[in-house]
Point group: C2
Chain length 283, copies 2
């Protein structure tokens, strides 16, 4: 298990980085540092006693045994390139980004050989930003995916899993970058595109008083972090477009059944959707 005296530095004390700090702290880790260009976040984390050292200076990462980047996907590789000169040889590096193939490619392109890097995706994002919304308890109901590429050594995969255990994620899994990105394209990205598109179709807000739970449930994720998601979509563009195309094709197939008043054809689709959806019911 990771030594309780290990120096753990979290880069970016926002929603996820803040939750990591709170989770490590709750597990008894006290040698935590935070780096953020937002002074308020650092001061708040220091005031709460979550970190023992913090600031905007990247050289604070020096002496860290574990470095967790909770930066946005485009910022993470750039930060590594600029600041890995401060990394302690042999340190462990991970991240929290929601797309993996492109992020890992960009990081590997610049990363020093003596850094142990294994990518991770804690699936506990939400629509709010900032340390104020950080809550490590959300991890207890969430999935944590370790996403090793072919250069990730066995020890890195083990450390990544241990972090998921320390933070008490409900379910820890290992997927390849390709498997991860394909899964995310369907389960997360396509569904967000659907919710955003549905709300953009036209201004139907005058219908709000008639809305039932079905519509509310389906569009909850139309409230979305508009700074983060375009990046995620662009970095997973090929897989996401593949999913959009398959979905639109299916929408048009269903439209044809309506147009042709093919009740039996619709019924068959509904039997399939009912059966498949039941397998997704929470265990």
């Amino acid at each position: 298990m990771i030594d309780h005296n290990a120096r753990i530095t979290i880069v970016g004390l926002g929603l996820l980085g803040g939750s990591y700090a709170k989770g490590f702290h709750a597990a008894g880790y006290r040698n935590l540092a935070g780096i953020d260009i937002n002074e308020d976040a650092i001061n708040e984390a220091l005031a709460q006693g979550l970190i023992c050292e913090g600031g905007s200076d990247p050289s604070l990462v020096r002496d860290s045994d574990i470095v967790i980047s909770a930066l946005y996907p485009h910022a993470f590789p750039a930060w590594v390139k600029e600041n890995q000169k401060y990394f302690k040889p042999g340190c462990f590096l991970s991240d929290v980004t929601g797309v993996k193939r492109e992020v890992i490619r960009q990081v590997r392109e610049v990363l020093r050989d003596d850094v142990v890097f294994t990518a991770c995706h804690p699936m506990a994002g939400r629509e709010y930003k900032g340390l104020a919304y950080a809550d490590e308890k959300r991890f207890h109901a969430a999935n944590y995916i370790v996403v090793p590429d072919e250069k990730a050594p066995a020890e890195g995969i083990e450390t990544a899993k241990e972090i998921g255990e320390i933070l008490q994620f409900k379910h820890i899994a290992v997927l390849s970058p390709e498997e991860h990105d394909a899964m995310i394209a369907f389960l997360s990205q396509l569904t967000h595109v659907i919710a955003v598109a549905l709300m953009n179709t036209k201004d139907n807000t005058h219908l709000a008083e008639y809305t039932g739970d079905s519509f509310r449930d389906l569009t909850r994720i139309a409230v979305i972090n508009e700074d983060l998601w375009p990046e995620l979509f662009i970095m997973n563009k090929d897989y996401l477009i593949r999913e959009i195309d398959a979905f639109v094709e299916e929408m048009l197939a269903f439209r044809k059944l309506v147009e042709e008043e093919d009740a039996e054809g619709m019924k068959q689709k509904m039997i399939i959707s009912t059966e498949r959806r039941k397998k997704f019911t929470k265990q």
Copy 2:
């Protein structure tokens, strides 16, 4: 208010008809009758004391002051045509169907002039069928829409509203058949088509273990009554197709932004979706 001794007959003791019987019963109405071809449903309703008389014989409707059809949309007009010979002159007739223009047209085509008909839509359907799932308490959180056509007299609209009050619906509104069907096409029918299509895109049930709440929320309504919904879609075909087309167009517009890596364009869509969706948040 409707007299507590009024004879109220419910035709079809399924999920909604059964909830009506339970709701009237809870409000102190005891002169209730039920008509259903399913003997078990009648026996169960009699055993529970919900109705004082019941059976499969349509002539049971004789002497009723109020007749509520809880039949499927295609069955309601046919049942009226066949059995209105038993209706007491001046009786009040209503229904529970989820589409209105076509149902009202078909009923008016055959209906006797001395029957007071006002269509209603209790928006409290769900994926299960049958009396066993009937629960009048679901009405207390639901919308009840009175949908008068130009032939519905003022007294009929009043009686329809009173029924909504007796059953303790949360919100009672009046819409024209056109307004109702347009609202339903967007808020309910399109969303069900989306959920069904998403589950039909391909068999992704192997991803169930990675599923988060977003996907679960969005696809909850993919578990659907496959006997009822094709009818509803076909009877509202023109409006539903208009909504599908607008939505698919918006999906393709978003796809183009992804393809062109237009982060700013996506961001604008997300700002709109976030703003609009907030107006749909439950009061």
